[in-house]
């Protein structure tokens, strides 16, 4: 899932993201709602240190008037902890969130616990999730926030097999969004004998449905592409649909995402030629788009570079990343200074993914420099938190020098001006 799409997340996207996060890609082919148990891996000390550092930065946000920003950033840290499988850290942080996002985070923690097979306290967390949204149901609240929490809780209820409650909650939220999660989740729960039926459904929706269902079906296809990669016939059928649809009627960014994700799947299954072919299509699509803001282009460059690396073309990946940095440097005046880190972080992550550790660390240092061009504590803290989470989630251990700088920032450089 590329960063641009993460930015577009809304209620519908929330569902899609929940199911498209990749965490379930290799889940068992069970036909019931119960998620397969996925044990958590131990979190390394430096990762915990980074997340705690990020959370300390959220404490700098004054509640008034920054409560929305503070809580949004806290949810970012919770999400990072959950990506590492650390429900303990996530819970510790969740309890300190001061607005409706506490509910969202309780639901996210519950979901992770179910995925790890630890269901003992899940119902309690779901109750707390729903209890946290009362303030948003008032006359001046925003209903999408309530919906988001209900949607998250509904997903977990469904994972627990409580379909009745899931449907009860789903009835009060956006039904299209609910359909998204079910459609994409079919890639995990589909029975082998229903494959052809699912394919017919993809065709029918792509032919006549509105765009959101079409995209959900295509994302399902990418996941099925992974699941059935060893099955030549089925793989070809899926690839044909992904490429056909991706080349015809979807926005460039989504097309690049679908093709790049498919390329990664092919590469991970050892089919380098196919991966390179798909990457070529994605690259051509990017070249055809007339205008790119670096903030939106570089994350796609990073995704393509990672796919190239997985396909064995590490030199090309390296070239792509270097070109991306050049593009940034040449065009950064078009990016508001506080958002420049958003462009560069995926490149730093990609450098790490291809094994260029020093380049990655150097780029993180550059990101910190760029963030501090803005004189205000809020954007600095936001960027700092994003950087800490990025390092932790991607298992990038900071050098002593970078660690010292990070500590210095959180200790001394985020206190003002707020």
């Amino acid at each position: 899932m590329n960063r641009w799409l993460r930015h577009t997340s809304s209620l519908a996207c929330t569902f899609a993201l929940l199911s498209c996060s990749g965490e379930e890609t290799h889940a068992a082919t069970t036909s019931n709602h119960q998620a397969a148990s996925r044990p958590s891996e131990p979190v390394e000390a430096f990762q915990t240190e980074l997340l705690r550092m990020a959370f300390r930065a959220t404490e700098k946000f004054p509640l008034d008037p920054q409560i929305k920003n503070r809580c949004r950033e806290r949810e970012e840290v919770v999400s990072a902890a959950l990506q590492l499988g650390s429900t303990e850290l996530a819970l510790e942080f969740t309890r300190q969130i001061e607005n409706w996002r506490k509910g969202a985070c309780y639901a996210l923690v519950a979901r992770e616990l179910v995925e790890q097979g630890k269901t003992a306290n899940v119902e309690g967390y779901l109750d707390q999730a729903l209890a946290s949204i009362s303030a948003e149901s008032g006359a001046t609240g925003q209903a999408w926030r309530v919906d988001r929490v209900r949607a998250l809780v509904a997903v977990v209820k469904a994972m627990l097999g409580d379909d009745a409650k899931a449907h009860e909650l789903a009835a009060t939220i956006d039904t299209d969004a609910q359909r998204e999660v079910l459609v994409v989740d079919e890639a995990r729960t589909l029975r082998d004998e229903d494959f052809d039926k699912a394919l017919r459904q993809v065709d029918a929706v792509c032919k006549s449905g509105s765009f959101e269902p079409v995209t959900a079906q295509l994302r399902k296809c990418v996941r099925l592409y992974d699941r059935y990669f060893a099955d030549t016939e089925r793989r070809a059928a899926l690839e044909e649909r992904i490429c056909r649809a991706a080349l015809k009627s979807t926005p460039a960014m989504v097309r690049v995402e679908l093709l790049t994700d498919s390329a990664r799947v092919a590469a991970m299954h050892g089919d380098r030629a196919k991966a390179e072919e798909l990457i070529g299509l994605a690259s051509d699509l990017m070249a055809e788009t007339p205008k790119w803001n670096p903030e939106h282009r570089l994350p796609l460059d990073a995704a393509i570079a990672e796919a190239l690396h997985l396909a064995g073309a590490t030199d090309k990946a390296r070239e792509r990343l270097a070109a991306a940095i050049d593009y940034f440097d040449a065009n950064k005046q078009f990016v508001i200074n506080m958002f420049r880190g958003n462009a560069l972080r995926p490149i730093a992550e990609a450098y790490h993914a291809i094994g260029d550790e020093q380049a990655s660390i150097d780029l993180y240092a550059k990101i910190l420099d760029e963030a501090f061009v803005n004189p205000n504590a809020r954007p600095r803290a936001m960027d700092f938190i994003a950087t800490c989470c990025s390092l932790a989630v991607h298992h990038i251990e900071p050098t002593a020098e970078l660690r010292q700088r990070l500590n210095g920032i959180v200790d001394e450089e985020l206190d003002s001006p707020w």
């Binding site: 009362s134 009060t172 205008k291």
Partner: protein
């Protein structure tokens, strides 16, 4: 006992207020952009002496009760601080945030010095006048406006390099702003983050604006470009603006409690792919100055463009619920105007006194766009018959999650609304062609023309005048609360629960009281009735849904005020919660997840009869502000107890 306790609290509050005082009040000339976090205090007044930008990363907080009072532009270059500059606006750049922290009893007012000059003298207020007073003038163009620029998706086709697909790279310069260099991001809006957060705005009154130096450009009262749904905007008034009242370009921002009066162009204008919701609004068409229609004299009440060109994405797809729209009966333009694939669901609205059509099919906006049905998009008729989630796929379509505002029904519809005194011969021609008045849409056309038949409690117009060559009947008094067919909405609960506050009535107002009280120019100028009471919002629902608290009468008279509870469950007594005025000092607390006012004092149990209970009292000292709320033990409520909305009562 209760009264004594509250009176003691009132006295303490008064002392605190006096201590905070206005002895150090200053008039601040704002001459430089805001680059670091800044607070504007209610003890000062602020005069915008040039275009002021809240720059990316910075935050502007405006305290409740603050008046931004901008003086007239200097007409020769002798301004000692900045020289000649007619541009006097406030803009919030992408990445910046604004927090307008007005309250009903202490709104933030952005207006002109000429407006303040009409306020009743009040030496205790930093402006020297009482902001709850004033006289309406035929005027606008006296200062600029408030502009917010965000990072949500937009569909703008004039900018080189923008593409017709839903694309995060699509941006546009905000009208009235000048780039420092080609592509200057500081004056642009748009991007790829529909969840963007430009801050929070509450209880803000914008008056007499619209001015910019460029003679070819007029400014809207409130301009919202690419604003994301994380931005909170509610209780905003625009009175007498030169151009549109509110204009929205793309993004996903949601608005509640908007009052838009005497606007010189469209009262509410939506374009470039907005995908959000409006609920609770009032539009009163009129004029601000005697120029032309569209530049001082009201044009359309609500004008919606889908995209800058009709096959671009995203396309405006949203909902407008519970609006009271009062047109100009002779020369007003459309009550709802539709262009370039706009898709709006109007529900629970009042449309009355329109001068043209209820549904005005403009199709194109005159800037070279191609209208409905262009390049494989839905035709105009099909837009009204196509389900919200059954849009045929199109080459330019948006990614998943772009369209979430509509959750049922058809893309374009007007349902469960009331139509009254729309007397143009073609008032319903297009609406009928689209089936708006088919029985299934649950709309009501009131057959009579008399005020007694009206869906609003009272409406008075002044004598006929000619403005900009148009015949205008200005509204001089309005009690917008519902009457007759507007009192109830017949639609089921499915959609009102989904995404909106649970409003079972038509138009923007509940029967008991008006959310215009205390904070609006319309009340200060005498256009809307005064009341000592204002609704501050909902608390905890019970078995019957929301308990409702309303106030009436005079708190200064012994037993002169009545605090009423309705929608209570039978068989359980209600208890009355009185609170005092110390909100600034003690911001209240939460009980069972409900916001309870400061210093709650639980009164004796009061019997509930037919779902109602009343508490009468009074003899309160002048100048105090009091908060009231009802509670009831309710085993069916999630917390075992339910609380009503809180109301605020100010003793004159």
């Amino acid at each position: 006992m209760l009264t004594n306790t509250i009176l003691r609290a009132a006295a303490l509050g008064s002392a605190v207020a006096a201590a905070m005082g206005t002895a150090n009040a200053q008039k601040i000339n704002v001459t430089a952009d805001i680059t670091v976090p800044t607070t504007w205090f209610s003890t000062n007044t602020y005069d915008l002496r040039r275009d002021i930008a809240v720059q990316a990363g910075a935050t502007l907080t405006i305290q409740a009760g603050t008046v931004v009072c901008t003086s007239a532009p200097v007409t020769n270059p002798v301004d000692p601080e900045f020289g000649l500059d007619e541009n006097r606006s406030l803009r919030v750049e992408r990445g910046a945030q604004i927090f307008v922290k007005g309250r009903a009893e202490a709104p933030v007012i952005m207006t002109s010095a000429a407006d303040v000059a009409t306020w009743t003298p009040d030496a205790g207020h930093p402006t020297g006048g009482n902001p709850k007073t004033g006289t309406w003038r035929e005027a606008a163009d006296e200062w600029g406006n408030l502009t917010l620029m965000g990072r949500g998706f937009i569909s703008e086709n004039a900018e080189a390099g923008n593409v017709p697909t839903c694309n995060a790279n699509n941006e546009a310069p905000m009208e009235g702003l000048v780039e420092s260099f080609p592509g200057d991001p500081s004056v642009r809006y748009g991007g790829g983050d529909d969840n963007d957060d430009s801050g929070s705005i509450s209880y803000l009154s914008l008056r007499y604006g619209g001015r910019v130096e460029d003679p070819n450009v007029e400014l809207n009262g409130l301009s919202l470009g690419g604003i994301g749904r994380e931005t909170d905007i509610h209780h905003v008034e625009i009175m007498n603006n030169l151009d549109d009242g509110v204009e929205i370009w793309g993004g996903t921002v949601n608005l509640k409690y908007m009052s838009i009066w005497n606007i010189g162009d469209d009262s509410l204008d939506i374009d470039q792919g907005w995908r959000g919701t409006h609920q609770f609004g009032l539009i009163v068409q009129g004029y601000s100055i005697d120029t032309s229609q569209g530049g001082g004299v009201g044009d359309n009440a609500i004008e919606t463009d889908g995209a800058e060109d009709s096959d671009w994405q995203p396309v405006t797809t949203g909902r407008v619920y519970n609006y009271t729209v009062i047109g100009q009966p002779i020369d007003g333009d459309g009550l709802t105007t539709w262009r370039d694939n706009a898709r709006i669901q109007y529900r629970n609205c009042i449309f009355m006194d329109g001068g043209e059509a209820l549904v005005k099919f403009d199709n194109i906006d005159g800037d070279g766009a191609h209208g409905y049905g262009f390049n494989g998009t839905l035709s105009w008729p099909a837009t009204w018959t196509t389900a919200y989630n059954a849009v045929p796929a199109h080459a330019n379509d948006c990614p998943v999650g772009t369209y979430t505002a509509q959750t049922d029904g058809n893309l374009a519809e007007i349902r469960n609304s009331v139509f009254f005194r729309n007397l143009n011969g073609s008032a319903y021609t297009e609406a009928d062609a689209r089936g708006v008045r088919n029985a299934g849409n649950l709309n009501v056309t009131i057959p009579g023309f008399d005020d007694a038949d009206s869906p609003v409690c009272a409406l008075t117009r002044g004598p006929l005048v000619s403005r900009g060559g148009k015949s205008m009947l200005p509204v001089t008094f309005l009690d917008p609360r519902p009457k007759n067919e507007a009192l109830t909405s017949t639609e089921g609960a499915d959609y009102v629960i989904n995404c909106f506050s649970d409003a079972r009535y038509r138009g923007g107002f509940i029967p008991e009281q008006s959310w215009l009280h205390f904070w609006t120019a319309s009340e200060a100028y005498g256009f809307t009735p005064t009341s000592q009471f204002v609704d501050l919002g909902k608390a905890c629902p019970g078995t019957n849904g929301d308990l409702h608290c309303s106030g009436s009468g005079d708190q200064s008279v012994p037993m002169g005020a009545t605090i009423k509870l309705s929608n209570a469950i039978p068989g359980a007594a209600a208890f009355f919660v009185g609170t005092s005025l110390l909100e600034d000092v003690l911001p209240g607390f939460e009980l069972f997840g409900c916001k309870i006012g400061p210093l709650p004092i639980f009164g004796p149990a009061i019997p509930v009869v037919a779902g109602q209970a009343t508490w009468t009292w009074g003899n309160l000292p002048s100048g105090g502000t009091y908060y009231y709320q009802w509670g009831q033990i309710d085993p069916g409520a999630p917390a075992g107890v339910s609380f009503s909305n809180t109301i605020c009562g100010r003793v004159p």
